[in-house]
Amino acid sequence: MKKVRNDATEALAGLLKDGMTVMAGGFGLCGIPDELIDAIRESGVKDLTVISNNAGIDGVGLGKLLETRQVAKMISSYVGENKEFARQYLGGELAIEFNPQGTLAERIRAGGAGIPAFFTKTGVGTLIAEGKEVREFDGESYVMERGLFADLAIVHAWKGDTEGNLVYRKTARNFNPMMATAAKVTVAQVEHLVQPGEIDGDAVHTPGIFIKRMIHVAIREKRIEQRTTRTRGEPAIPPAAV
């Protein structure tokens, strides 16, 4: 059962169809499955519902699928950085369902874990709770939210063995682990492809069971959205901590 494919196009072969739902990992441009997004763009598949915390920026990440109008709907928590997104959204070409970030994360985690619905206090008394069941538990109000499950999830990991065991790096972990569990098929791109045994079983973030196909991606320069620095010799400027 070989999981490793030669490239992104091969890894997605047979999995794409118009109108499907796709989860894409990443927060901002950090930990996004960029090569798999590129292959989706090249495939021309359209009318996608994309579940992703953000929508990339113009010409980068999911921004590429917006340029080609392959996305019909986004389920996201924040989409502020994208002019093409704003244009399509204000023009009524693109639908968006906003979810609070934690609710989005939990809905995906629930979908992957066989939980069809759960209650959360997030959003009670706001627009987010409209039309949803609100119920009291122990004197506090909670809104019911549904699990999310996609046709396809695409994720980015730092390291992966050929069995599909994945390790993420720093804050590039973000939505990738839950999304890996919450789709009929999950395809991973990894920066370092290793053999089984090279990743300590205690260090695995995503067990191989969740990964159906994977590709090894070349190390490319990763984009930074907000480059913030401090000057040597000066005191730490925010966000500083002890």
Binding site: Q101, G102, A105, T122, T228, P238, A241
Partner: protein, 219 residues
Amino acid sequence: MAWTREQMAERAAKELRDGFYVNLGIGIPTLVSNYIPEGMSVQLQSENGMLGMGPFPFEGEEDPDLINAGKQTITELPTTSYFSSSDSFGMVRGGHINLSILGAMQVAENGDLANWMIPGKMVKGMGGAMDLVAGVKRVVVVMEHVAKGKDGSEAPKLLAECDLPLTGTHVVDMVITDLGVFTIDKKGNGGMTLVELADGVTEDEIRAKTQGAFTTRLA
């Protein structure tokens, strides 16, 4: 003399306690980390999946895999741990974060908060704000006392009721503005109380610029 942004941040830092785990919003709240007292252990959470956030990196040492919730490049500390976004918001919703300091467009006298959308304008989304105000034990808002329009007009932001779409209901414990400090009895009937004035600011000035009802109990 109203407080400057830095003075507001310095005042907010007085709400920190040794051993606290804290989430700071963008803008003035971010500045609070500059005023953590020496020797006090405060770990900053970044809701994209990190605890123990360090300062900005030196130029040339930026790591694209290491950003905060504002998508800024940051650094790690010896205490740092990373986790998924679902674990991160489990931490938030579960009440494990001691304090959240964040900005606001409007706060009502009952603790309601609005800071995510203005009807008629492009909506960017609420990000993690709704989860943070609902889940974090104590929520401190730091904001200008009034909103200044382009025409020089001033609109109060401390209101009887928010008229913008809410981020959360009964969530704010304290509001620090450039003019003073208010506490709010968010779950009870105690309402809003003015507890501190910025240097040179009078209660009358605050009353003129505040639409919500408040009692005064200055220390």
